[in-house]
Symmetry: C2
Subunit: 343 residues, 2 copies
C-alpha cells in the first residue's frame, strides 16, 4: 500500500480541533501509511497535538491560518470569505497534488462550491453528488446519493448519479451488477413526481445498469438494493430522518452507562450477556460508524464529515477517505466512464 | 359523550378483514359509545365477526359488497373502479350522515380523491393534508403535515397547512400558541428550495402563528416544535424513513420473544427488570401506536391507516378517528377559520 497524505480542515465542524485532532490521532494509529497536512489555527491546535504526542510527529504538517468559513453563511458569502480559510487551503493542497484527498466537517455548501471550483470534475459528470455508504440491518452497506449537494436536479443528472453509484458500489463494495433503486414515496409505477416517473422509465431502458425500480424510505436499511438514487433535497431529508431515529434510540442505551447506582456493574454484565448481539447490531447501525459523505464525480477524494460529528465519527470519515484513495475511486470511475462513452 | 358511528372500509389495507375485524373488536371493548358500519365482502367477514362474538352485535352493521379498490392502481383508474367499492361506500355513509367518520387502510390516492369528491372541504382550504401525531422522545406528540396527500404544493397551501396544523395542535394536544416549524435540510436562512425560503419569509410575518423557523428531519421526534409543515412528498419520505428506522430497531427486541431456549423466562425477567424503562420508551415511539393520518381540511373525519398495519396498529387508527370526532375537530377548525377570515 502506497503512502497516503490527507489534507484536513482542522477548524471545520461544530467542535473544530477538539474533534478533528483526536480523530486524526486515532486514524494515525490505525493506518501506518497515513500522514496529514493540517490547516487551522495553531494556537488552538498545538496544545491538542501535544496532548496526543503528535507535536513533533513526522506524519503531521501544520499550516497555520486564522481564517475559517462560518458554518451557517450562504454559499456566495462563504466563497468571498474563503481566501486563506482552513477549508480552502486544504482543498488547494489537494489541487496542487500535495495531498490525495481532503476531509472537512465545515460548511457543506462552501465545501461543494470550492471543491467544484478547485478540483477538476470527472469528464461527463455535470454535478458531483454527496455519496455515503449507509448501514443495513444485516450489517452490510448500501450506497446512497445525492445526500444534499444538489437541491434540484435534472433527469439527466439523476441518471448520472445512477451511473456513479453503480461504479462506486462495484469498487467499494465489490459487487457485480449492483441493484439500483430510485427513492420514491411508493413502489407503484404511478407514484411520485413527474420527474421521478420519467427517470424511472429512462433507467428501465438501461441494459448496463441493474435498475430494479422504486424504493421507499422505510426500506433504506433493509438491504433490498445496493444503490439508492435521489435528488439532494430528498436524500438529505431521508438520511437525516433515519439517522435521527437511530441516534435517539441508541441514546436510550448509552444513558445506561451513566447510571451510577450500586447495580451498575451487574447491569453491565447482564447487558453484555443477554443483549450483546442486539447491542452490537444497534452499534452497527450507529450513524457514527458511517460518517462521511464523498463528493462523487470529482477527480480527487473530497469527504464531508457531519458538522456535529464526535472524534470517533470524524475518524470514520478519515477512514472513508483513505479507503477511497486506496481503491483509487476517482480513476476507476474515470476509466469506467470512458468505457461507457465508447458504447 | 355522545354516540359515535364509524364507517370502516373492512377490505382496505394489505390484510383486509384479518386486520380490520380484530382491530374493531378491540376498539369496541374500549369505547362503549362506539358502533360501526362495515363495508366489505360478507363471505370473508362473517367468520371473523363470529370469532370475536360480534356477528349479532347491535354495534355492528355489515353492508356487503364485493367491489374493492386495488392498492396499487393509479388514481384515475381507482376512481373508475370505485363504484360500490368498500371504500367508496364507507365514505358515502359519512357523506349521508350515517357515520361521523371513516377509517380505511386502502389506496391512499383513491381515499384522498374520493374524500375530496364526496366530503365537503372546509371553506378556504384548497387542499386537505394528511396529518398525523408523531411520537417524540419525551413521550409527547408533534403534529406533522402533509404526509403524502399533495406531492407538489403552492406557497399558499403550505401556509394553509400551517394554519390547520396550528388549530389541530391546539385542540388535540391542548396547546396554546403551539410552535410551528417548516421541515428543511438545514436551519440556516439560506437553506432549502426557493419555495421553502419564500414560505419561511411569509410565515415569519404571521403574528397569529407561533412560527419558530426551520427544523431538520433528524429532529422530528426531538420535541423542538409542536407542528411540522412540509409538502406531501417530503413529509412522506421523512416519516417513512423515521418509521422504518424505528421499526427495524424495535424488531431487534421483538425477536427476543421468539427465543425458545431454556433461559427464555430468565431473560424475560431480566429484560423487564433492567430494561423496562428503555423498552417502554421504545414502545412509546413504536409507530404502531401512532398509526393513522387524518385528511385535515375536510368537514368530516377521514382517517387513513397504514396499508401494512397490523390489528393493533389499525385499532390506533380507529382511536385517532374517535378522538377527533369527540373533539369535534372539523367544526372547531371551521370556527377558527371563520375567525381568521374576519381579521
Amino acid at each position: 500500500m502506497g503512502d497516503i497524505t490527507l489534507a484536513v480542515d482542522v477548524m471545520g465542524g461544530d467542535f473544530g480541533p477538539r474533534v478533528t485532532i483526536p480523530a486524526l490521532a486515532k486514524a494515525l494509529s490505525q493506518h501506518s501509511n497515513l500522514s496529514f497536512l493540517l490547516f487551522g489555527n495553531e494556537s488552538q491546535i498545538t496544545s491538542l497535538l501535544e496532548k496526543y504526542s503528535l507535536l513533533d510527529s513526522p506524519k503531521i504538517q501544520l499550516h497555520h491560518t486564522e481564517q475559517v468559513i462560518d458554518a451557517d453563511i450562504p454559499f456566495s458569502k462563504a466563497i468571498r470569505q474563503s481566501k486563506n480559510s482552513s477549508m480552502r487551503l486544504a482543498l488547494e493542497a489537494v489541487k496542487e497534488g500535495k495531498a490525495q484527498g481532503c476531509v472537512s466537517g465545515g460548511n457543506t455548501g462552501a465545501l461543494m462550491g470550492l471543491a467544484k471550483l478547485l478540483i477538476e470534475p470527472l469528464p461527463n459528470i455535470e454535478r458531483p453528488a454527496l455519496t455515503s455508504l449507509i448501514p443495513t440491518m444485516n450489517g452490510k452497506s448500501t450506497v446512497m446519493l445525492d445526500l444534499g449537494a444538489n437541491i434540484e436536479v435534472s433527469d439527466c443528472q439523476l441518471q448520472q448519479f445512477a451511473e456513479m453509484g453503480d461504479l462506486f458500489a462495484q469498487v467499494m463494495l465489490g459487487l457485480v451488477y449492483p441493484r439500483i433503486s430510485l427513492l420514491n414515496i411508493g413502489t407503484e409505477e404511478n407514484k411520485g413526481t413527474a420527474q421521478i416517473q420519467a427517470v424511472h422509465q429512462q433507467l428501465k431502458k438501461r441494459q448496463d445498469l441493474n435498475y430494479i425500480g422504486f424504493i421507499e424510505s422505510d426500506k433504506l436499511t433493509s438491504y433490498l438494493t445496493d444503490v439508492i438514487i435521489c435528488d439532494g433535497y430528498t436524500g438529505n431529508i431521508a438520511l437525516k430522518a433515519l439517522e435521527g431515529a437511530a441516534k435517539n434510540i441508541i441514546s436510550l442505551f448509552k444513558k445506561e452507562k451513566a447510571d451510577s447506582n450500586i447495580c451498575r456493574n451487574t447491569k453491565r454484565y447482564l447487558l453484555k450477556l443477554i443483549f450483546y448481539r442486539y447491542y452490537r447490531k444497534l452499534q452497527e447501525i450507529n450513524p457514527d460508524r458511517h460518517n462521511g459523505a464523498t463528493l462523487l464525480g470529482l477527480s480527487k477524494v473530497i469527504v464531508k464529515s457531519h458538522g456535529g460529528a464526535n472524534a470517533n465519527a470524524f475518524s470514520y470519515a478519515i477512514d472513508y477517505a483513505v479507503q477511497q484513495i486506496e481503491n483509487d475511486i476517482p480513476n476507476k470511475i474515470l476509466q469506467r466512464l470512458h468505457q461507457l462513452d465508447k458504447k
